[in-house]
Symmetry: C2
Subunit: 465 residues, 2 copies
């Protein structure tokens, strides 16, 4: 470290408080990156503010000294949005995790950005309410990060993305200014809804320093239905039939390749004996006999039509959990094959064709690759996973996967889909952004960034250059 | 009309097509304003484009000639956002009303901006689906206008605002550029969601030229419950109790003053004999005995607690319609008293105090004024109406109401509420915008406008100067 950083760090400590600044190499490593592992963390320092004023002080300091700032939440991101590779100051929100101002009539609660997703879910439960955005990393991801990346997950079909649960936002922009956006109102048609820009903005416009989150009534008697289908068109027909009659809380899918790996490598049981190419996992609130009857009728209809080859419905909470385990253990199970992963989406109706086209190109070019499909099919969101063949070194595999990415994104573009359904762009996908957003849109985004962050200090280099 | 406009109009006709341009004084009057009547229309000309290309041609023409453009939908707006007072070209979408590309799996449909709300509602019904955004002007308001003003209405508590139903948007910005935003995707985390800026942007960033709208399953066996309450705290307690157990499709309220006028001046019957100061109108899907039982238990609980003094539940569609008529006829009934109107919101839990404070100041300053309250209380959205006393001329009344507006907006600010819950800002409320949005926010909005509309030709002078 040369003299300039040393002086800078002293000044930073003066601007915030010495106890808030970390510069040891373990901290720089830990706070300098997210769950992606493609970049080498190299931040200047880590700041752990404990108040909005301290966040503002860091931003003003960074602006005066023209240093980049990288926000850091639970660091569970999968697109290298919370990665500091270039001497930035990382602002981590671990010290700001208070939940306050719960209001039972509004069903809202105020969260500091460092509140862990699970902490909010538990808080809601204690109040006989429900925070519905849920995903694999809920135990460590933070609300600020969830909002900045507009996190999705397994209940989007019923409850939407994180965007739909943010009724108020306090942010500090790139000028150090504090904005209080929307204050928890349901209806507020007074000009541009600036809150929406910070949701999914990946910290490039400013820091989220407080959020008012909406809660809802808890679901009752959740029941799952696992259906085995011959092909993806069957899965689509099942979706259409059920959506017309039942309010689904989830509609997930995965392939036999996925299920067989889970069954082989974990305690999870096969839901029924018949292996089928694809499985749909539906969940709904089983609150009356009328609903049970409707679901059974739909199930029989799907069998008669040949869309469903076999199926099972959970009769207890433990059976519900077992069915979910088939889906939830996939990601963990396949890590041993150091898989290539991609998170993409198209409109729901195009999924079968889209999936087949990707299958085709990968099978043709790299017949030794095994594809594991799963995802939130009710939202058109597919998680593409390719297992590394033992015959290839990691490097060879990654090199081939770069080609796969390009083919996949070309198909995404052809289908007017998204190169990142729920994981964001960060550093990982910015070179591919034009496959989903036009040059004109990217220019407009740059223009908007300049309005909020005239010096370009907020998470520089993320989403676009 | 001097020579310059004549030449301009000739050029405009060349740029678009003569048949698309109207300049007769009836058309200028008709297309030059919305439902507000405070401004004198004075547009240069009306253009009725029939394609995206024609819209782009008008924008390029306006940009070259530095002429303002005003969008015009169904002209049912209540904040003078679609009013041309200053030699602008009005772009009306009456010729662009095609519905196309319905997809039953995605449950989406593509609308040109001139599609009437009711036309979309009927289209959905024919497909056994439902477009849930509904309000008094559904018979003439257009989808483009609904989106530009983020229209709300009577089902927001269950279905949200128009914002929640727009899955794709094509817009023409102030440079004439066509943007295709989000293409109908459920999940698309690839940078700033520009679509959100155009929703509720009141045409100040660009024109909406196509929208992909989401549909949903139709509600089943809708049933209404009308409850009479002693005071607003009772109404709040009813809301809290019901929301915990039942998915409400509406939660409206109105005062005895409102109901008595409706009963007196229309065919509508009182729902029950006991007059009570306030009424809550709840609606839900009555799809099983379990739900009916829950609702009856809640009703009895509310009676025991003293929150409800009397009540009635609809047993048929005609009874459902009669109960709704009590609420829906209010606006029409009170027009004979040329009422002052204001559309404001606070967070739901603050409504009783907020309403009382406005009552107090108006009663104290103008004891001769009669206030009629009604609104979408489940969203914290109040419609304040004050009847003109016979003793005052319209001019005297309006003058006094200007004072009322100021007091109301001061109270809105104190309660961190919105000066426009669902009607937008337009010309009518722009002078009051700072009561809800900070100067910093307004500056940022100006910055954003400059990015999309560098010459300031898109609906100039609306929302802010």
């Amino acid at each position: 470290m040369n003299h300039k950083p040393l002086k800078l760090i002293e000044d930073l400590e003066t601007a915030v408080a010495p106890a808030r600044v970390l510069t040891d190499s373990d901290s720089l490593q830990q706070y300098g990156r997210d769950w992606t592992r493609f970049h080498t963390p190299a931040p200047l320092a880590i700041v752990l503010p404990s108040s909005v004023e301290e966040v503002q002080a860091v931003v003003r300091f960074a602006r005066e000294n023209q240093i980049g700032l990288v926000p850091s939440g639970g660091r569970t991101g999968l697109s290298a949005s919370a990665v500091a590779t270039n001497g930035e100051i990382v602002v981590a929100f671990d010290r700001m995790k208070k939940i306050s101002n719960f209001n039972p009539i509004d069903r809202t609660v105020v969260c500091e950005p460092g509140v862990i997703t699970e902490q909010l879910q538990q808080f809601a439960e204690e109040k006989d309410l429900f925070y519905p955005v849920d995903f694999a990393s809920s135990g460590s991801s933070q609300i600020g990060g969830n909002i900045a990346t507009n996190a999705g997950g397994i209940k989007v079909i019923r409850y939407g993305m994180t965007r739909d649960w943010v009724v108020g936002l306090k942010v500090v922009t790139g000028t150090g200014e504090l904005l209080e956006l929307n204050g928890g109102l349901v209806k507020n048609n007074t000009g541009y809804d600036l809150r929406q820009l910070f949701i999914g903005g990946e910290g490039t416009l400013g820091f989220i320093v407080e959020a008012t989150m909406k809660l809802t009534r808890p679901p009752e008697n959740l029941t799952a239905l696992m259906l085995g289908a011959e092909d993806m068109n069957g899965v689509m027909s099942i979706l259409k039939a059920f959506q017309q009659k039942v309010d689904l809380t989830a509609f997930e899918f995965f392939s036999e390749q996925a299920l067989s790996r889970v069954v082989e490598h974990s305690q999870v049981q096969r839901p029924f004996d018949t292996p089928t190419p694809f499985y749909a996992l539906l969940e709904f609130e089983n609150t009356s006999e009328a609903i049970s009857d409707t679901v059974m009728e739909l199930f029989e209809h799907c069998m008669e039509q040949g869309w469903v080859l076999d199926g099972v419905m959970s009769q207890s909470i433990s059976q519900l959990q077992n069915l979910w385990a088939c889906r939830e253990f996939i990601s963990e199970t396949i890590t041993r094959w150091t898989p290539y992963k991609n998170d993409i989406s198209v409109v729901v109706s195009k999924v079968p064709e889209f999936l087949a086209e990707i299958d085709n190109v990968v099978n043709r070019e790299y017949p030794e690759f095994e594809i594991i499909w799963f995802g939130h099919i009710g939202d058109g969101n597919l998680h593409l996973n390719i297992l590394k063949p033992d015959s290839l070194s990691t490097e060879e595999f990654l090199q081939k996967c770069n080609h796969v990415s390009k083919w996949v994104f070309e198909i995404v573009q052809e289908y007017v889909g998204s190169i990142s359904a729920e994981h964001g762009v960060g550093l990982l996908k910015k070179d591919y952004l034009t496959y989903t957003r036009s040059e004109a849109e990217i220019d407009l985004m740059r223009g908007i960034k300049k309005v909020f962050d005239p010096d370009g200090i907020m998470n520089p280099g993320k989403i676009f250059d």
